[in-house]
């Protein structure tokens, strides 16, 4: 329900890509997410990546489930087709679409709730099929759209706005996808476009399944008075139990740091996340090492970012099953129907 229709004034000064399009041409309808939501930063990175890739809109299919994150497919590439399906089931719809049109580029956007809870089974199995797609998780550790319950990726001990502490250890999409055999595994932070844009492009180009887990702070439901260090001191006039529907204005969190470095990012609730960017000489082709590297970083309380694992030799779903190179959805009836003579012949076995 976008009430403010977004003016599509294209400044002459905007740079154009090989298709003659500006970044603006890759945008979608106006966002209805909270001001400062990490998801919007990711949308901007996606827009940037497509523009840089000179991607024609009709080449792209945008797929999603349900959640704040899943809404974002509406906020880029208006000129592309898209399916906003049901909660947790984006992978299967994408699998079917890809079965029909292997010639398109699939970008699936999901949330940590959408993928790690209700959708975990489909997530694991789309990986197993090595479906040719970029699968992005806009990971905020909460269910944003249903107002702040923990998701399965929430850290142990983190607290909701209402003050309950999470008692369950997290499921890490990166470790889970490594264990399920994903052929491309990466992580980034919503506020670090410099790292994010190239990873999106790499994921889109990867032939097979590419997981891109993006840490994407929820400015609304991580903003609780109980967190270690919080904005509480600025909130003299605010009583969480009474102003339960109040969402203080926030700004996008931005982070910049170099390869091999760590960076301590303060979130809206005052808590911190320590990001570690993989080194230039990190070898992302060793699945075992990737797992260990993640475990070690976790022990140090760091969240590793970058391209963590890649295997370009696994065939995608179609290569494995020998599907025709011409997309099935574009076949003519004549190519598919064996005709009356064959029917007669086939029926001999039933006499």
């Amino acid at each position: 329900m976008s009430f403010v229709s977004k003016p599509r004034i294209i400044h002459k000064s905007l740079k154009r890509n090989a298709l003659g399009l500006t970044v603006r041409d890759y945008e979608g309808v106006a966002t209805t997410l909270c001001a400062g939501c990490g998801h919007d930063s990711i949308t901007a990175a996606i827009v940037q990546a497509f523009w840089e890739m000179d991607m024609p809109a009709q080449q792209v299919a945008k797929m999603s489930g349900i959640g704040c994150s899943s809404k974002t497919t509406g906020y880029f590439l208006s000129a592309a087709h898209g399916v906003n399906s049901v909660h947790g089931r984006m992978p299967s719809v994408t699998t079917g679409a890809n079965a029909a049109r292997r010639d398109l580029t699939y970008i699936g956007i999901s949330g940590d709730g959408d993928s790690m809870s209700i959708g975990l089974g489909q997530f694991a199995h789309v990986i197993r099929r090595n479906l040719d797609m970029l699968y992005m998780i806009e990971n905020n550790g909460v269910y944003g759209l249903t107002k702040g319950q923990f998701s399965a990726s929430a850290d142990l001990g983190s607290q909701t706005k209402k003050g309950e502490a999470n008692q369950q250890p997290p499921i890490d999409p990166v470790k889970a996808s490594l264990a399920m055999g994903a052929s491309f595994v990466a992580r980034a932070f919503s506020g670090d476009k410099e790292q994010l844009v190239p990873l999106i492009k790499a994921g889109l180009r990867h032939k097979g399944f590419a997981l891109l887990d993006v840490i994407s702070p929820c400015v609304t439901f991580n903003d609780h008075a109980t967190s270690t260090k919080s904005y509480a001191y600025t909130r003299e006039y605010y009583h969480p139990a009474i102003h339960a529907d109040f969402i203080p204005p926030s700004e996008e969190i931005v982070a910049r740091y170099d390869e091999g470095e760590t960076m301590d990012v303060q979130l809206h609730d005052g808590s911190h996340v320590i990001l570690r960017k993989v080194d230039k000489d990190y070898d992302p082709t060793d699945r075992g090492r990737a797992f260990n590297f993640l475990m070690d970083a976790q022990d140090r309380g760091e969240v590793v970012t970058g391209l963590l694992y890649i295997d370009q030799k696994q065939g995608d779903m179609h290569q494995r099953s020998g599907t025709a190179s011409k997309p099935l959805g574009r076949m003519e009836h004549q190519e598919l129907c064996p005709g009356s003579e064959v029917l007669k012949d086939l029926q001999k076995a039933y006499r």
């Binding site: 592309a80 399906s85 299967s92 997309p327 039933y350």
Partner: protein
């Protein structure tokens, strides 16, 4: 009534012993001799070691339903010997393996019991222990050949065809048949009163099961993407689709496949894939059974509301819950009609035999594309997994799929702007586009509230406008789904049978039997939901309507009550839901009971 070409053979076996092929051979031989025949497989929900029965009805009149009689029992299963003996009709014959003595707790003086030492003979003749099991089956086929007057040349021909790729097996099989044949000839009076004499009533017919025929229909309709999660009794449909596709859709040179079959991780994923593929422009389907449909409910509502075509085959089994996976029932009608939360309703097609499975598979894709909504084909285990004798399948090479209102790039070039859900024709059906085409045709599919332009809305009026248009589409559906099959009786009157699907055969036979007693009933078999005007009229023209169906809760009667104008007091039920295929005598009894009550009233 003479029993020549008019009797039932029942074979009691243990599953996993390879008896299916032997039993099929008997049936096929009768069919090849020109005598109408039908087979019902009654098997357990396990893999090995439990009782299984195969019932072959031979009917010179061409009746395809069960009759409830057992004229010849082949009792190969010690576990069930007693009940098998009990089931034989008076005057019938029971054949058993006399290698080991059978303890009998019951006596039947009205049954001729014939013992043949099948195991002993086979053990003496064949070395290999596995072969002995298989050949024992063949030897009872031989005994039946003698007793029923089966044509040995036909049997030989069948064996030769079957083992064409493994010729060295032919000899042993024939040897085993002869063992039984000779023993029977020598020891019993052959043939029995119940026996076969050649006829010419099977020409132009085939023996096929509904799942195979439906799969073939999918191939011919041009379906390319099949996604499913295995579940009895639907599994054989995808097996057949795979095998026909491998035969007819693989490029000889490149080996490229013009199809893509995906074994999904569960039913929720299977239907998601089907929706995705249909959205992207490929004809796609999923076969499943009751529990699968329950799991697919959420997605069915999505496809209904987002208006995405998709085809689902529900090969119904006995519910509720896991129920009896290897028994038949028609108890998913209400679920399928209204599956999903909110105001949803779905188009159903209900075939009555394998031939209609083939035809309706094709129709399902056309209707689904045309109406842009899920279409479910409601078959059942009886149709889907049993071999039925049906007229050969036919194909019109002029057939072109009806893909419905799809705008191509060329079409788009002609319009100024494309809106997904604007009804420009007044039939409730709006134009769609496929991804990968002109960006002008791009739109965003959502299961959340949208206005006719396809944009997200929370405006009550805009939301309602779309919901109301779906009702207009529903009215259109009534005019395009297949109409009922109506048969007036010789003396058309105000009393009628209304039924659906696999009840048809039993109802047909019951009608004949009743007519012979002077009870003439008109007949209507509904073939689709929603019900169209023809259904309404038939109901209007009759005062007493006996609804015959295979479920406990009178689900067809319920649907007729609410979805037609019929006065509900006119509707009476004959219900059968014990999991066995319907027996015509149940229909006769039900009708007679109703009529006798009517007379009392």
């Amino acid at each position: 009534m003479s029993q020549v070409n008019n009797f039932v053979i029942k074979l009691a076996n243990v599953n996993g012993t390879g008896s299916a092929s032997a039993n099929g051979l008997v049936m096929k031989a009768i069919f090849r001799m020109g005598v109408p025949v039908v087979g019902k497989n009654i098997f357990p929900s396990n893999i090995q070691g439990l009782p299984t029965w195969f019932e072959i009805r031979v009917s010179r009149e061409g009746y395809l339903a069960r009759s409830g009689e057992v004229d010849v029992m082949v009792a190969m299963n010690g576990q069930t010997f007693d009940r098998d003996l009990k089931e034989v009709s008076p005057g019938g014959v029971l054949l058993y393996d006399s290698t080991w003595p059978r303890e009998r707790s019951i006596k039947r003086h009205d049954v001729t019991v014939l013992g043949i030492p099948l195991a002993r003979m086979c053990n003496e003749t064949f070395e290999n222990p596995r072969a002995r099991i298989l050949m024992k089956n063949m030897s009872y086929v031989g005994a039946l050949a003698a007793l029923l007057n089966l044509d040995m040349a036909v049997l030989r021909e069948l064996i030769e065809e079957q083992f064409a790729s493994k010729k060295k097996l032919v000899g042993a099989n024939i040897q085993a048949i002869e063992l039984g044949y000779n023993y029977a000839l020598e020891n019993f009076k052959c043939p029995l009163a119940s026996h076969i004499e050649p006829m010419d009533k099977t020409a132009g017919h085939i023996m096929i099961d509904g799942n195979t025929a439906a799969a073939l229909g999918c191939v011919y309709a041009g379906a390319t993407v099949g996604a499913w999660y295995p579940i009895t009794p639907s599994t054989s449909m995808m097996d057949a689709f795979r095998s026909f596709s491998e035969k007819t859709r693989v490029d000889k040179e490149t080996g490229e496949k013009n199809f893509c079959i995906i074994q999904a991780e569960d039913e929720l994923a299977a239907i998601g894939m089907v929706i995705g593929a249909n959205w992207a422009g490929a004809r796609s389907f999923t076969p499943t059974s009751g529990p699968g449909v329950s799991l697919m409910s959420e997605f069915l509502g999505f496809a209904y509301y987002a208006e995405i075509p998709m085809v689902l085959f529900n090969i119904q089994r006995a519910g509720p819950s896991t129920g009896m996976p290897t028994r038949t029932q028609q108890s998913d009608l209400l679920l399928c009609a209204y599956a999903s939360h909110g105001d949803t309703r779905h188009v159903l097609l209900i075939p009555d035999d394998p031939r209609e499975c083939f035809d309706m598979a094709v129709q399902a894709f056309d209707l689904s594309d045309r109406l842009q909504t899920p279409v479910m084909v409601l078959s059942d285990l009886d149709i889907g997994m049993n071999d039925w004798m049906v007229p050969e399948l036919e194909w019109d090479d002029n057939y072109r799929p009806d893909r419905g209102k799809v705008l191509t790039d060329a079409d788009l070039a002609k319009v100024e702007k494309f809106y997904r859900y604007v009804d420009s024709d007044g039939d409730g059906i709006t134009y769609r586009t496929y991804p990968g085409g002109d960006p002008k045709g791009a739109y965003f599919v959502r299961g959340s509230s949208h206005n006719k332009f396809g944009a997200y809305t929370e405006s009550s009026a805009e939301y309602k406008e779309v919901l109301d248009r779906l009702l207009v589409k529903w009215e259109t559906a009534k005019t395009v789904v297949p109409g009922p099959v109506i048969r007036s009786s010789d003396q058309p009157g105000r009393t009628a049978i209304v039924t659906m699907g696999s009840c048809a055969a039993a109802c047909r036979e019951a009608s004949h039997k009743l007519a012979a007693k002077g009870i003439h009933l008109d007949y209507m078999r509904v073939r689709a939901f929603p019900f169209g005007e023809e259904v309404e009229q038939f109901l209007e023209e009759h005062d007493h309507i006996i609804v015959v169906e295979q479920n406990r809760d009178a689900q067809l009667r319920t649907l007729l009550m609410t979805e037609t104008r019929v006065h509900k007091d006119k509707l009476h039920s004959v219900l059968h839901y014990d999991g066995q295929p319907l027996d015509y005598r149940i229909v006769v009894a039900g009708v007679e009971e109703f009529l006798s009550k009517g007379e009392m009233a």
